[in-house]
Symmetry: C2
Subunit: 362 residues, 2 copies
DNA sequence: TATTAGCACTCGAAGGGCGAGAGTGCCAAC
DNA sequence: GTTGGCACTCTCGCCCTTCGAGTGCTAATA
């Protein structure tokens, strides 16, 4: 079914206006915002037809019109003008990214906070890594009671741990331990590190003190955590900005849902539009009951090293799709450029050398 | 001014009841909850006197009484029975701590989430570390284009970074670099690592490729980040549970304040009661305007390695002081035991060995 | 046939009045 | 010092009315 040019104009005007004011918009208001050469009566006729088609609805017989989920969908797909971010806004995002990424700590939480701040909506960040293995162990002998485990992973990140022993251990033992691990524990996934393997190694290197077990459980812990997904909720306060969450019950329900089950998990990455890297889920298009009258905008980024990340923003269906989508898209692609290919040097570091990998903190 | 035994009983009853119901409590209700051998009229007289003394107030002439900030203060200081947590509750906290600490990642955010979950209030966690230095550098040669920096800090944590070089570097250079850093860059604070020192070292080891700079800036970054404080807000949704934040404007204002300026920063650690390690700030006792009608309960823990941490809980002045204080106190001391002295082995690891320090992740 | 002007109509939001109920304050008696 | 009793106060919830924005419809018009 094709919409006439005028209907499109009117539908777009309703959505735009409703996004701004959160109140049903009437025929007169439409006349003021977009210049159609006709009277309010004509607009009313058109509005009535749009209601019939399912793009608009009226809360009460004599109120203005508000968009339905379908209406928003048409708007997002065809009608809305793709926002160009102003230079200031682009600058702001880049500045934010530079600052946030320079600070150490989990990228995920920083990105979440950043997205929330920049869009003024509640944001979630999410990242998942594929299974990986340890490619190399280094055990650093510190003193008779102390050594450091350093493990290099297949995704090029490095993990370490300081181990204090209640008894003395010779440097030779550490060396033996190290070569045993490099021989038997590299390039295997976490499940392959069995008690059997540990027992065998202990016998092989004559380890009576359980050192093998310590290093092995470190490896298991690291690999498990690497597989684990991280998620983060930021800017919950922005929810309360929106009049549709005026009812504390609703706000509470949604917020609790968001803190417990980050909805980004259920999003199929393959469905993200390839051209701008953004996906919009409007109201009932969300599977979760709690999100049926909210919208979610998601962008995916490539965090390098086998890791895919998602950033999303949650708000009322009456959301500034155009602006938020533009911002998320920019954030995602800037992130991919910084974290992903590694072709660009990370900001704020020597540019003589390509320094890859992150600083790790406890 | 001394309160009669009966006045104390009545005041306690009012606070207890109001904490439960959030509604002004009348003389009859008091008679039901605590058995005083007198009539409601007598209670009314006592109530009137308590109002006169400033411990209670009435919202309207003919409503029941609610506690004033002063009333809560007396209650917290003298009246409330120090809750003994049930075995189940203690278990729950310990289980929570074990799980949360086994998961990798920042302790701060986990502790915050845990406190929020266990108390059903909004929680904040905060930690600050004293200045520290690098005590030892190890540079691990991986291949001609790659090496790993491992730095041991004076607070016994270990940091690392993987460096990729666009050009080849010999193993001998890495060794020279390593000994130079151990000679000149250990035990100095971040400010002492000057361009001058870097230049001098470069000349000394014949480094024309800026390697010294890379390692030095890593050291600076690590030391700076170690000084930095972390803070974290969790369980924002619990705020909306409380009827006093029914008004979305209020809820929003408080939540925004909490996300932007974690109020724990301003808390003077020295004022925390030494016996249970908890401090209670009631309503107007808070300096921040936004917290004037909320209460904050804070506990401090020792995260070991020169690090002090705070966990706090924010809620309406009508807060379950007794239970929350007990829980926070337990969480804090359990945390101190685990992170602090190092006298106890961390959970879930070999108990043959004392393993200290954390696993670090990107 | 599409558009317009006009008019009656509908419905929600806002405001005022009313009754019920909870709880007090006070007084006189014990 | 305590008690029973009674009049008083104030809020909350309810219903009613009014007001106004915006519609739907119809008949006239280009």
């Amino acid at each position: 079914m094709e919409l006439s040019e005028r209907k499109k104009k009117i539908l777009a005007a309703v959505v735009d206006e409703y996004i701004k004011t959160a109140e049903p918009v009437g025929s007169k208001t439409i006349l003021q915002t977009c210049d159609l050469n006709c009277s309010s009566a004509t607009v009313r006729n058109e509005l009535a037809e749009l209601v019939g088609m399912g793009f608009l609805e009226q809360p009460h017989t004599s109120a203005g019109r508000i968009p339905t989920a379908l209406g928003y969908r048409i708007y997002v797909n065809e009608l809305m003008e793709r926002q160009k971010l102003s230079i200031e806004e682009t600058e702001e995002i880049n500045r934010g990214l530079n600052e946030k990424l320079r600070q150490l700590g989990t990228v995920v939480s920083n990105v979440g906070t950043l997205a929330a701040n920049l869009t003024n909506y509640t944001a979630m960040a999410f990242s998942a890594t594929m299974a990986c293995t340890v490619t190399r162990y280094d055990l650093i002998y510190v003193d008779a009671n102390t050594f450091i485990i350093v493990a290099m992973l297949s995704n090029n990140s490095v993990k370490n741990k300081l181990v204090n022993l209640p008894i003395s251990v010779g440097q030779d033992m550490i060396v033996r331990l190290s070569s045993a691990f490099n021989a038997n524990f590299t390039n295997i996934t976490e499940e392959k590190i069995t008690p059997l393997l540990i027992r065998a190694t202990e016998r092989a290197i004559d380890d009576t003190m359980g050192l093998t077990g310590v290093v092995a459980s470190f490896a298991i812990e690291v690999l498990t955590s690497e597989k684990a997904t991280q998620s983060y909720l930021a800017g919950a306060n922005h929810l309360l900005n929106q009049p549709e969450y005026r009812d504390p019950g609703k706000a509470h329900a949604l917020m609790s849902y968001l803190s417990d089950n980050p909805p980004l998990q259920s999003i199929d990455v393959s469905e993200i539009s390839p051209d701008d890297g953004v996906r919009v889920l409007i109201g009932p298009e969300n599977v979760a009951e709690e999100l049926k009258d909210s919208s979610v905008i998601v962008a995916s980024y490539d965090a390098g090293d086998n890791t895919k990340g998602l950033i999303g923003v949650v708000g009322p269906t009456r959301m500034d799709y155009s602006k938020v989508a533009a911002k998320l898209s920019l954030i995602a692609s800037a992130l991919s450029a910084r974290l992903g290919g590694g072709s660009e040097p990370p900001p704020g570091l020597h540019n003589k050398l390509i320094v890859k990998g992150d600083i790790h903190e406890p």
